[in-house]
Subunit: 187 residues, 2 copies
Amino acid sequence: MNASHFDIDVGARLRELRIRHGLSQRALAKRAGVSNATVSMVEANRISPSVSGLRQILSGIPYSLSEFFAETHPPAEQVVFRAAELKEIGGGKISYRQVGANLEGRSLQMLHERYKPGAVSGKAMLSHQGEEAGLIIRGRMLLEVDGARYELGPGDAYFFDSRKPHAFRNAGEEDLELVSACTPPSF
Amino acid sequence: MNASHFDIDVGARLRELRIRHGLSQRALAKRAGVSNATVSMVEANRISPSVSGLRQILSGIPYSLSEFFAETHPPAEQVVFRAAELKEIGGGKISYRQVGANLEGRSLQMLHERYKPGAVSGKAMLSHQGEEAGLIIRGRMLLEVDGARYELGPGDAYFFDSRKPHAFRNAGEEDLELVSACTPPSF
DNA sequence: TTCATGTGTTCAGGATATAGAACGTTCTTA
DNA sequence: TAAGAACGTTCTATATCCTGAACACATGAA
């Protein structure tokens, strides 16, 4: 289904979190209300804890199951991206300039977008969960989300669930310029 | 620590996913290589499956543990936020204007930021995992990430892992204006 | 009706996780 | 040195999960 099923190493992940928070196995066990032996064996992958058991262990850090199983992203390398080197994604009437080079494994995507007058984009229905937001820098935008229409000017912004059908249009005579962000990356 | 620990209902979640994919308990059990009794009891929350057991069940859908435990966000309400109604978060020399009213349960946060000359902000060490990105609209910014310093002008952008220590400073004589996004929300 | 097939649930026994107490090691401090 | 405390690991009885086989109910066909 979704890519990247590099089945998580529960033991290693627990150990990593515990140590990052400066806790010993016994300290964590005490805070969580479980035995230190359990923590030890879970970390060594000698046993596979029940979901409720793992939840209890994590409560001592504290961490939620969602956070525990959230994909771990490799650290970012390049920090600053000059205006000239922003990667051009679109072409023609719409220009998407992406902040960041390789978004593989990232949870955030930011774009510097330019729409020529009359340019339209958008998606009918969406694949995966996510959110997107944007803020208008220059020009006028006509936004349609889930059937409703809005006209936005400089300083105005939007925020919605990516699964809703949506469309963007340059509603003015000059170029439309905006900064958008979405999670997770859609390209 | 982080808010929103509405402990997930494992049984209900599994049942929801199974039915959404048009599978009976037995069909799922067969594909996953477990007994139908297990699926039944897990869905009824009569037992709390081991992590490995749950992983095996999910392999029949298929679903990863990450996807299974991913927070389900309530649908967004308001879509458009006028420049005048963007919620002001900071004060004084730095103004943060947040896109979106209530970010509880959201994974994305976007800010329209203004720094007066000399204004500084940033964090030494970070609590939780996440990423942040930004794009300069006006003015000059001095960015420090993990010890390295960069000067950015209009159109320039940044992207880094939130856990790295970082600081922002208005390095010019005029106001600094930028759009930033981070995940997950830090306020 | 009667049979066949589908659904989800419940039961008893073998497999596995967990608690509590022991173990061996590595420090620090006297 | 030795004593003490902290660390992670290992042992054994008990609690829990998980299977394979029944169970009860619904639907559709003959």
